[in-house]
């Protein structure tokens, strides 16, 4: 461990250059980085301003950039010891940043924070090796958006969206309408994001990609196969179109798709579109289990801060959490039940509908090699949905590779004859 630190330190020192530490008497500067570049960013900026006005001894500087850039910048800054004092991480990436030593566990700063006012499963998901590394701000659960106008035209009740498999399949069939030149023009459902949609189905079928301690990949588990065969069948029965990597969303916005499963963060996008009459509802339950994909934005604290800076940073984090009902106005679902019980939140119909799913949301597994895992998973899903491989073959190939990665991760490079070191 020490050796790795030195290695990181050397690179840090080399790239640090002008890294200076200002410790003057003025207000404490807290840098706050996030990837909120949409309307959520404007909401966040308002909150930051309010905090700065109420706390003259602290000055929070917020910087936002798109998530892709953000991860790289944050990681490189962390390597150079220049990570911002407060930053946002998704639950699925907490482990990586905690492992790298960039985020501090929150146990020592929590104080009288009412942790029982955070959804239990959401709070538990931020725990790594017994410690919490992020203060969850929201849960962006997946939900169902549906086009009320198309529902009416198809003879479906726009106030009663499907809730189970039969209703869902029935709606898909009724909403599907052939276009002018023999091509189907209007669809009942499309996969917008195959990764998150299939993960929802996978969990509804009771499947799981790993065993409980993540020491083994279990993608070829019978239930995973069943779930993906169900997804494939929707396509092979010509009920829904073959997945287009990202842009099926446009189809929903154009009013040519009846239902899509997407995150709550897409709400702002839809609300801009005045001619679209849409509703939000929980994702229909197509198999034995209740489950939907979700992720959370967590506020994280840089590790190794001096006490007075840490106190100021925590005060800011707590302020954001306490005021996260305003955050909901930016299209998010606060993760504190007491705030969701307020009339302010209840009048937000779509977030309220999505929020009913919080007790059974499913996060992606916490893995240091999450990206490699998702690459393999998505490759398998693509092959299955396009009918280029059977579910068991594609998942089998992915499982084999992921188990190789697990093995690679468990081997230390400084012990080439690793077989003997155990």
């Amino acid at each position: 461990m020490l050796k790795r630190r030195h290695f990181l330190g050397a690179l840090g020192a080399a790239s640090l250059g002008a890294g200076c530490s200002l410790r003057s008497q003025g207000p404490i500067t807290i840098r706050f980085w996030n990837g909120f570049t949409g309307p959520d960013g404007r909401t966040m900026l308002r909150l930051v301003r309010r905090f700065n006005e109420a706390n003259p001894d602290v000055s929070v500087l917020m910087q936002r950039m798109d998530w892709g850039t953000y991860w790289n910048k944050l990681f490189v800054a962390g390597l150079g010891g220049r990570a911002p004092e407060v930053f946002v991480l998704h639950t699925r990436t907490l482990l990586r940043f905690a492992r790298a030593g960039f985020a501090a566990p929150l146990e020592s700063v929590l104080g009288d924070f009412p942790t029982d006012d955070i959804d239990e499963n959401v709070w538990a998901a931020t725990k790594i090796d017994g410690k919490h590394y992020g203060l969850p701000l929201d849960v962006h659960a997946m939900g169902m958006y549906y086009n009320k106008k198309l529902f009416r035209e198809a003879g479906l009740d726009p106030e009663k969206p499907p809730t189970n498999r039969d209703e869902f399949l029935n709606a898909i069939q009724k909403l599907k309408k052939p276009g002018k030149n023999g091509e189907p023009d209007q669809w009942g459902y499309v996969f917008t994001n195959a990764e998150t949609c299939t993960y929802t189905f996978l969990n509804q079928f009771g499947g799981a990609p790993f065993n409980t301690d993540f020491s083994k990949c279990t993608l070829t588990n019978k239930r995973n196969i069943e779930a993906l065969e169900f997804c494939r069948k929707l396509i092979s029965d010509n009920l829904i179109p073959s997945p287009e990597n990202f842009d099926s969303w446009i189809g929903f916005r154009q009013g040519r798709v009846g239902m899509v499963f997407e995150g709550i963060y897409m709400l702002a996008d839809l609300e801009k579109q005045k001619d679209l009459e849409f509703g939000g509802a929980p994702v229909p339950q197509v198999s034995a289990e209740k489950a939907v994909w979700a992720d959370s934005h967590n506020l994280c604290l840089k590790s190794g801060l001096e006490p007075r800076v840490q106190e100021a940073a925590w005060r800011f984090m707590r302020f954001l959490s306490d005021n996260s009902v305003e955050w909901a106005a930016g299209g998010q679902i606060p993760t504190r039940p007491s705030l969701r019980a307020t009339p302010e939140f209840k009048k937000l119909t779509v977030p309220s509908a999505f929020a009913t799913q919080i007790p059974f949301v499913k996060y992606q597994p916490q893995l240091p090699f999450i990206f490699e895992y998702l690459t393999e998973y998505n490759l398998a899903v693509e092959k299955i949905l396009r009918g280029r491989a059977s579910a068991s073959d594609a998942l089998g190939a992915a499982e084999k590779r992921i188990n190789e990665i697990i093995l690679r991760e468990s081997v230390s490079p400084s012990a080439p004859n690793n077989g003997e070191t155990k």
Binding site: R4, F7, A100, S242, D247, K383, P413, P416
Partner: protein, 287 residues
Amino acid sequence: MRRNHWSGWLFAAPHLILFLVFVVGPLLFGLGLSFFRWDLLSTHPAGFVGTENYREALGDEYVYKALGATVKFVVLAVPTTLLLALLLAVGLNGVIEKRRGFWRSLIYLPHLLTVSVVGLLWRWFYNTEFGLFNAYLAPFGLKIPWLSDVAYAMPAIVLMTLWWTLGGPMLIFLAALQNVPAAYHEAASLDGASAPQTFFRITLPLLRPVLLFSMVMNIVGAFQVFGQVYMITRGGPELSTRTLVQYIYDTAFNNYRMGYASAISWLLFLVIAIFSAFQFRLMKERK
């Protein structure tokens, strides 16, 4: 004599210093790194592993897959770019001077857009169900799965690249064409040469150095293709358009396996270096 020597270095210094610090330095750092296993998120310390990373790369099916995708892009994109750019340049050279500027700007215009803008735009153009191209093709009963079919994805990226980058080499060729002394053409026409004869016997040989130079630069650039692919397909469908640079990017900045990514980078460098050496040799011989 000695003084002159020093002043030469002095003039070169501003570039040289930056070149050493930002190009040669990282290059050598990367070479060193490629002999270490340095996985940022591993609980194991970084350690020297000798040629292990290179051995892993040579046995990694994804390296070959990415190399295949890269070569496919080079083979599809470079000859078409050069040929179309030359055709456009010759065509423009024949347009009367007053209108030439307008057409030249028009063809060069896409080049001014950043790759993210071009990518977002074309991703919509190419969408199977809701895209622009298929909307135009629908009356003919055609529906092409531009980006979701392994057979179409790479050609689609090449098509977009042509639209985006053709302006660059076209400008260079146009400038070269205008440098061909008019007297040569006059002399040829006095001797009764036809237009094709003039083109193939006089214009083309005079363009050869520029053509070869453009070819080298285009090949080197095409081997490093990343932006278009990353914006449009993210390497899909089924990783069929994931090029080597994207694989390196994924390995270093998503998987945080710095040593391994450096090793693949050096393998790519080797491939490009061999091609370039071969081509420069070709240039010398033809002189």
